[in-house]
Amino acid sequence: MQVQSGIAPIGRVEWGTHFCHFYKSAADLAETLVPFFKAGLESNERCLWVTAAPLGKEQARAALNGHVSGLDRRIASGQIAIYDHAEWYARHGGGDPKAIAQLWVDTTEEALRRGYRGLRITGNTAFLDSGSWDGFIDYESYLREAFEGQRLLALCSYDAERCDADAVLDVVHAHDFALARRRGAWEVVEHASVKRSREALESLNTELEQRIEARTRELSGALAHQRMMTAELSHRVKNTIASVQALVDRSLRGGGSFEDARATIRGRLFALARVHDLLAAADWHGVGLRELLEAVLAPYNGRIRRAVDEVWLNPRAALGLAMMAHELATNAAKYGALSGREGGVAVLAEAAAGEPSTLELSWRETGGPRVERPGREGFGTRLIRRIATHDLRGECELAFDRAGLACTVRVPVREILATATACPHGSLH
């Protein structure tokens, strides 16, 4: 969770950040610390300012007064406390690093209990001398861990004039990052490991965002597919109802008995239903020719021998070929080889290479009664011819041989093949 530091080159930082700045003058200090506290006070945070020369308690208060409204009231209510270093040290100092760190954590929790959003502190380290330096840097390093995850923001001030190169490195190492004013411009110095983890975090964030984006794309793609499938399904339902209407209508006007019509309707609906079952089981991507013929010709099992090359059919071809096989089989059962006890049928399906490659399907009846060409083309025959020539763009020969009916259908494989990415749309038309 982030908090506004109030310092322009830094902007928002994580709660628990422990950072420092190098100053050369009282003006530098005021320029950094005034906006820091202004941001805290205006977002209802508790603030603690431990001052030292050259910006002592009174100067700090004066500097802040011009920028924050109701400062006296805020001091009276305890939202902000400004201490002189000696004053603060007398009250809280002298403990070991752990005890002082715990004091900050306790103060933060108290601030939260009192309704503040968090605690913002700053301390000037001008009081340090060479004898206390190492111990203090250890304490600073310890704070970095202690503050992690706390609703606390800590900014430490170091006098640039009093830090040699070693000291600067110590300070930078002990904080999350350091802020320095060089030639009139702000510069942020990050400890390499911090920088690395920040970079790692950023790249993790980027990766996460990319993943979210990819997942969102996936989901909206799936949603679009779903919508397309729904539209397709509604189209299919309408077409299926129209087909059933036509079948029923045609079967009833066929001129035969009511019993005949009933058997015809049942047979045709059964064949349609079987194809729908198979297609639905494969999400309307397609169905194998062998499985299709087995399903449609199941009622005549044993009397129809099959030698079938496997072809993965698109839904349109599956429906067409199923209706075709059904019409041939019922015709055979009524008038042809399957009407008596002796006859049989041989079904061959052979995919032949070539340009374009074709699938040749042949239906040969033998052993049935002597066949004669009917006077007028029936609905079944007409359906077979239209499916082959119109729907599947192939050709169809119906030979009423004396030995039995022979039907040969040749269709281009590209018309009947389901593709891997088969969009079910455009298939049943």
């Binding site: 036509a246 499916i387 119109h390």
Partner: protein, 132 residues
């Protein structure tokens, strides 16, 4: 009515995307006297068939063809002076005919032979000069 149609046999263009329905209507068309029936399943296919000629005597247009409507085919029929009828399924009876095609003969599925013959006769009468 059917008798008068039989006296003028001819070619029919049938635009229908559902094969079972197409075969059924093709049979009906033959029964009312259209000896040659061309079937198109899509708008594009129908327009190609019309452009290739010769002009059919009548056209039977299913309104909804796999997501597209057969209005462009109807306009082409009108331009060529070919009488046509629209056919809609009961699920699509709300199909809104565009203003420029209003007044066209609209038949409901399932089609019967008599309705089809009567509808075609009305369309033929309307396409005479002074008609539609």
């Amino acid at each position: 009515m059917a008798a008068s149609i039989r006296q003028a046999p001819g070619r029919a263009l049938l635009v229908e995307d559902e094969l079972l329905v197409a075969v059924h209507v093709e049979e009906l068309l033959e029964q009312v006297g259209y000896v040659r029936v061309a079937i198109a399943a899509r708008v594009e296919e129908a327009l190609v068939a019309l452009a290739a000629g010769p002009d059919p005597t009548v056209a039977v247009l299913d309104v909804n063809l796999a997501g597209e409507q057969s209005w462009p085919v109807a306009r082409e029929c009108r331009r060529r002076g070919i009488p046509w009828v629209f056919v809609t399924g009961y699920l699509e009876s709300h199909a809104a005919v565009p203003a420029d095609l209003a007044g066209a003969v609209l038949l409901a599925k399932p089609l019967g032979r008599e309705e089809l013959a009567a509808g075609l006769a009305r369309a033929a009468a309307a396409s005479e000069p002074g008609g539609r």
